[in-house]
C-alpha cells in the first residue's frame, strides 16, 4: 500500500475507528447513559461515512445552483446531494431516537434508583 492510497483510505479508517469504539461502548459499558451516548456517536460515524462517500475531490462546491452558474459547471463541481439528503433526515431521526431512549432511561432510574446494568441485574425486580 503506497502512501497516497493510505491517505485516500484515511477517512474510512477514521469511520471504522469510531464504529469500533462505539460498539465497545454499547456492548461493554455498564452505564445505560454511556450506552446511549455511544449509540449517538455511532449514528454520527455512519453519517460521516455518507458525507465521505458524497464528497467530490478538487474544486468542489455545495449542491446549490447559484444564479449565473451554468448547468455543466454545476454538475461537474457540486458534491453528491443524495448523501446530504440522507444525513439531513438521519440526524433529526437520530435525535428523536435519543430523546425516546432518554425517556426510557429516566424510567429505569426511577424504578431501580440506578443506571448501572450490573446493579440492576443484582436487584432482581
Amino acid at each position: 500500500m503506497n502512501p497516497t492510497s493510505l491517505i485516500v483510505y484515511l477517512p474510512y479508517i477514521l469511520v471504522v475507528l469510531m464504529v469500533a469504539i462505539c460498539v465497545y461502548g454499547v456492548v461493554f459499558k455498564s452505564n445505560i447513559f454511556k450506552k446511549i451516548l455511544a449509540l449517538f456517536f455511532f449514528t454520527d460515524a455512519v453519517n460521516l461515512l455518507y458525507i465521505i462517500q458524497g464528497y467530490r475531490r478538487g474544486d468542489s462546491i455545495p449542491p446549490i445552483l447559484l444564479p449565473g452558474m451554468g448547468l455543466s459547471e454545476f454538475t461537474s463541481r457540486a458534491v453528491d446531494p443524495l448523501a446530504h439528503y440522507f444525513v439531513v433526515t438521519a440526524v433529526v431521526i437520530g435525535l428523536a431516537e435519543i430523546a425516546t431512549l432518554s425517556a426510557l432511561a429516566i424510567y429505569v432510574y426511577r424504578h431501580y434508583g440506578t443506571l448501572e446494568t450490573r446493579k440492576i441485574k443484582e436487584l432482581r425486580g
Binding site: 483510505y9 461493554f28 458524497g54 467530490r56 448547468l71 439528503y85 425517556a103 424510567y107
Partner: protein
C-alpha cells in the same frame, strides 16, 4: 476483572480490523456517483421541465420532490418518537408559573427568542435558494425553547405562553399543511379527471398538474416545497419542544416540589395511578 478488560480490548481491536478490511472493498472516495449526477443535472434544468424539481438546491429538491415519500415516512418515524415520549410523560405534564426573572432578563430573552425563531423561519423559507430546510429550521426553533429552559428557569416558560398543549396544536398544524400539500394533486386529479399523484410538485408529461414553480419572485421557487418545508419546521420544532420540555421538566421533577398553585389534582391522580 483484568482478563475481562483484556477480552474487551481484544474484541474491539478485532472488530476494528474486520471493519477496516471490509472498508477496502468500498470505492475510492472523491467522485460523485451516477445517481447523484442525475439529481444534480435535473434538479433545476429549465431545458427539461418534465424531470425538474424547480429547486436550485438539489438537497431540498430530493427531500420533497424526488424522494418525497421517503421524507414523508421519516416524518412518521419522528411522529412516533414524539408520541413515545408524550406517552411516558404527558400524564404528569403541568408547567407551573413562578415569579420569573427581572424585567431586563425577560425582555432580552424575548428579543433573542424572536431572533432565533426568525432565523429558523428564514432558513426554512429560503431553503430552495440557499442551504437549509424544514428539519434544520425545526431544530433551530426547538433550540429557542431549550435555550430558555436551560439559561433561565423552568418557571419562565409560562410567561412565553408556551405549554405542551399549544405545542401540540402547532405541531398538528404543521402536519396538516404537509397532508394538504400531499393530497392537493389527488383532489385535483379527481376533480378534473387528469392524471396526478400524491406529493406531486411539478408537472410531468403524463401528469399535467403542477404547483407554480415561481411564486412571483424568482428567488422563491420550488412549487410545493416551501409550504411543505414550513409545515415540517413547525412539526419538527414543536415535536422537539414537546420532547425536551417533558424530558427536562418532568424527567427530573420526581419530588413534586411545586404544588403551590391550583390545578394539581391531575398530577396527583397521575402519581397515584403510577404508584
Amino acid at each position: 476483572m483484568k482478563a475481562r478488560t483484556l477480552a474487551e480490548v481484544l474484541f474491539t481491536a478485532a472488530l476494528f480490523l474486520v471493519l477496516a478490511y471490509a472498508m477496502t472493498g468500498y470505492p475510492e472516495f472523491g467522485f460523485v456517483r451516477p445517481l447523484g449526477g442525475f439529481f444534480l443535472y435535473h434538479t433545476f434544468n429549465e431545458g427539461n421541465p418534465g424531470l425538474w424539481s424547480g429547486s436550485p438546491n438539489a438537497v431540498t429538491g430530493i427531500l420533497w420532490d424526488y424522494r418525497g415519500y421517503d421524507t414523508l415516512f421519516e416524518t412518521m418515524v419522528f411522529y412516533i418518537g414524539t408520541v413515545a415520549v408524550v406517552i411516558f410523560f404527558e400524564r404528569r405534564a403541568r408547567l407551573r408559573q413562578t415569579r420569573g426573572m427581572s424585567m431586563i432578563v425577560s425582555a432580552s430573552t424575548r428579543l433573542i427568542f424572536i431572533f432565533i425563531i426568525t432565523s429558523a423561519l428564514t432558513i426554512t423559507i429560503f431553503s430552495v435558494k440557499g442551504s437549509g430546510g424544514g428539519f434544520q429550521g425545526g431544530s433551530i426553533m426547538a433550540i429557542a425553547y431549550v435555550a430558555i429552559l436551560v439559561a433561565l428557569s423552568k418557571g419562565f416558560l409560562p410567561q412565553l405562553k408556551i405549554n405542551v398543549k399549544r405545542a401540540h396544536l402547532l405541531r398538528t398544524l404543521g402536519l396538516t399543511i404537509i397532508a394538504a400539500m400531499t393530497l392537493t394533486p389527488i383532489v385535483f386529479s379527481i376533480a378534473t379527471g387528469t392524471e396526478a399523484f400524491a406529493l406531486q410538485n411539478q408537472a410531468k408529461e403524463w401528469a399535467p398538474f403542477g404547483f407554480p414553480a415561481f411564486l412571483g419572485l424568482r428567488s422563491l421557487s420550488g412549487g410545493s416545497i416551501i409550504p411543505i418545508q414550513i409545515g415540517e419546521t413547525l412539526f419538527v420544532g414543536m415535536g422537539f419542544t414537546i420532547m425536551f420540555t417533558l424530558l427536562t421538566l418532568k424527567g427530573g421533577d420526581e419530588d413534586g416540589d411545586g404544588e403551590e398553585e391550583g390545578g394539581g389534582g391531575e398530577k396527583k391522580a397521575g402519581k397515584e395511578a403510577e404508584g
